[in-house]
Structure formats: structure tokens, C-alpha cells
């Protein structure tokens, strides 16, 4: 959607001012109320009109501030106990093509380009693969590499072995509701512990 379309879409809508938009964002970031009229419940709590809540949230979904609105599932709770961040070193002139390829694969749940941090970090393409166990993730990865002819790219597979915190993105200074969640994730029977890191302290510039 381009800017002109966005502007056109705001016409005739009961959008909120900036302060109330921030309040609404805070109010929904941990979820909608489970009442028959959840948007009205929010409106009453915030002292605004239901139509303003509806129009503002609709506008956010159309303008892609909200990527999706719905049930946010904790994969782990449904038996998806293994997840690997698979990172790839792809030449700059090919990274868009490979990124698009990966994003088309059903098993890939995230796919981002990020900067390299040489000499510590050579990988510029990040993807996430979830599975019920480690072997399922590795099988899916092997299929994906074969089907898309990705064997020529240097890659690394970073399985998670412990979850210290997982909750929604909080941009509006709200509290994280699951801040103390911590779970062992070693389920596959293999040793999940990585060798002692050889770098004790890493100084890496950020930007």
C-alpha cells in the first residue's frame, strides 16, 4: 500500500491522536479482552469511543504496523520443542534471491537479512526452523537445502537449548507478562551444551 492510499484510507475514519494511539497500543500488546465486545471493553477502559478503537486497529493492520491479529501460539506448548536459527553467508548480489526462496518454504518461520560483523560473524541471512525435535528440524533443513540448491552457501545451525524469556514485543513501555519464564529445552536426548566459548569477552561495535 502506498502513502497516498494510506492517506485516503484515513479519510472518514475516527482515528486517535498520538497520545491515545500509544495508550491503545499499550492496552492491546498483551492481548485483547475475552469479552463479547472486546474493542468496546478497551474503549471504556481508555475513555474513548469503540469506533475509534476499531478504526485505529483496522488502520494499523492495513498500514502493516500490525503484521497479524489473532491467536499467538507458544510453539513449545504444542510439542514444538526444537528450534534452530539457521544462518547463511550469501554474497550481497544474491541475498535477495535466496531470502525470497527461503521465505517460500513452509518450515521457515522467519527470514531476515542482517549485517555481517567481521571477523566475529560472517552470516548475513537469518532463518528460523521449528520442529517437534532436533531430528525433525535437521530433516526439514536437509530437504530445504536439496530442493533449493543451497549447498554452496556456508551456513551454521544454532539450536536453542534453553529459553530464558519469551513474550510479545513491547514498544510502549508495558510490562512483560512472562519475564521469569525459563525452561530447559533439551528434549532430544543429545547433549545440547555447546563447548566452552573460547571468547570470554567480545567487544563488537554495534550500529
Amino acid at each position: 500500500m502506498n502513502d497516498n492510499q494510506l492517506i485516503a484510507n484515513t479519510l472518514g475514519r475516527a482515528l486517535l491522536d498520538e497520545r491515545n494511539q500509544l495508550r491503545l497500543r499499550q492496552a492491546i500488546q498483551d492481548g485483547l479482552p475475552l469479552t463479547r465486545q472486546p474493542y468496546k471493553t478497551l474503549a471504556i477502559a481508555l475513555g474513548i469511543k469503540e469506533q475509534q478503537v476499531l478504526d485505529t486497529i483496522q488502520y494499523w493492520t492495513e498500514s502493516d504496523l500490525i503484521k497479524r491479529l489473532g491467536l499467538v501460539v507458544k510453539h513449545h506448548s504444542l510439542g514444538y520443542r526444537a528450534n534452530a536459527m539457521v544462518v547463511w553467508d550469501v554474497p550481497a548480489d544474491d541475498v535477495d534471491r535466496v531470502g525470497e526462496l527461503l521465505s517460500q518454504c513452509d518450515v521457515v518461520t522467519l527470514c531476515y537479512q542482517r549485517p555481517r560483523r567481521l571477523p566475529h560473524w560472517r552470516y548475513n541471512l537469518f532463518s528460523m526452523i521449528h520442529g517437534k525435535d532436533r531430528s525433525m528440524v535437521l530433516e526439514q533443513l536437509a530437504d530445504l537445502i536439496a530442493e533449493n540448491q543451497l549447498d554452496g552457501f556456508q551456513r551454521d545451525v544454532l539450536f536453542s537449548y534453553r529459553l530464558f524469556k519469551q513474550c510479545g514485543g513491547h514498544y510502549a513501555n508495558g510490562e512483560c507478562s512472562s519475564r521469569n519464564s525459563e525452561r530447559e529445552q533439551a528434549e532430544s536426548g543429545q547433549s545440547m551444551k555447546h563447548a566452552q566459548p573460547s571468547i570470554k569477552e567480545t567487544q563488537v561495535a554495534y550500529g
Binding site: Y39, L54, R68, G70, N124, H130, F159, S160, F164
Partner: protein, 150 residues
């Protein structure tokens, strides 16, 4: 898990109605009652299957966010992870198998506050943070297809 719970997860990871009675609209489509929907969502939330029924914000547009990594000695992992978790802006934090073994996402309302938070995390932990901002997203988040009973 009840059939309705599975159907809701299959059908409504995206596209929750923005209407006066969203749960009634969902009920009509799935041929159940509004109360069935509310009970199912309540059950799924309380049992920890769902983290919420609500929005997934676009990190890039909703504020500033960054993927960050640290290389931490194994014996200090738990302590350092706790220090990182103490920051409100941290919303994912995993130990992963790599020299860089602690991976977390930091969010903030804007870039300046994000950089302040990263500096504060480095000070609190005593280790450098490798920051990996998103350059480009190739993935459209439509939820995740669950393979039931496999």
C-alpha cells in the same frame, strides 16, 4: 485438545475480525456459539497454549528493535541471562549452541533509547553485545501451520 481449539489455531492465527462482536463473527463461521469461542480462547490462554489473542506488531514500524548476541562462559550463563531479562525491552532470550551463545531481542520506542538499553545491558553484564539490526525482511508472518498428532 478439543476440536474447536485446534480449529481456532488453524483458522485464526491471523485475520481476527475487527468488528463490534469479533468472537460472534468467528462463531458463525465455525458453526458454534459465541460462548464456545470465548471458552475455547480462555482455555487455550489459561493452559499456556497461547501467549495472547491479539496483535503481532511489525518490529520495524512499531519502534526500534534489534537482535543481539553475547558470548558468555557456560557457568555464567544463568546469571547473565537473568541480568539481560531484567531489562523491560528484552522480549526473547535464548541460549543457543554457538560461541555466541546468548541471543535476545531488544525493543525500544526509538533508536536512541534502543542504543541506551544496549549500552546499559553491556554495563550490567560485563560483556560486549553484537548487534544485528534487520536490514530486510523476506517473510510475511501468517502464523504457523501446526501438524496435529504427528
Amino acid at each position: 485438545m478439543e476440536v474447536l481449539d485446534q480449529r481456532l489455531i488453524d483458522e485464526y492465527q491471523k485475520g481476527l475480525p475487527v468488528s463490534s462482536r469479533p468472537y460472534l463473527d468467528m462463531a458463525k463461521r465455525l458453526n458454534v456459539t459465541e460462548d464456545d469461542i470465548l471458552e475455547s480462547l480462555d482455555r487455550l490462554t489459561k493452559s499456556g497454549v497461547l501467549s495472547r489473542v491479539g496483535p503481532v506488531f511489525n518490529h520495524k514500524k512499531a519502534g526500534a528493535s534489534i537482535l543481539a548476541a553475547m558470548a558468555v562462559p557456560d557457568e555464567k550463563m544463568k546469571d547473565i541471562a537473568g541480568r539481560v531479562n531484567a531489562f523491560d525491552g528484552v522480549n526473547h532470550n535464548y541460549a543457543r549452541e554457538h560461541e555466541f551463545n546468548l541471543w535476545f531481542v531488544v525493543t525500544a520506542p526509538d533508536q536512541a533509547q534502543l542504543e541506551n538499553t544496549i549500552t546499559a545491558i553491556e554495563d550490567a553484564c560485563g560483556y560486549g553485545v553484537m548487534s544485528l539490526p534487520m536490514v530486510k525482511s523476506y517473510y510475511l508472518d501468517l502464523g504457523f501451520k501446526i501438524q496435529w498428532n504427528q
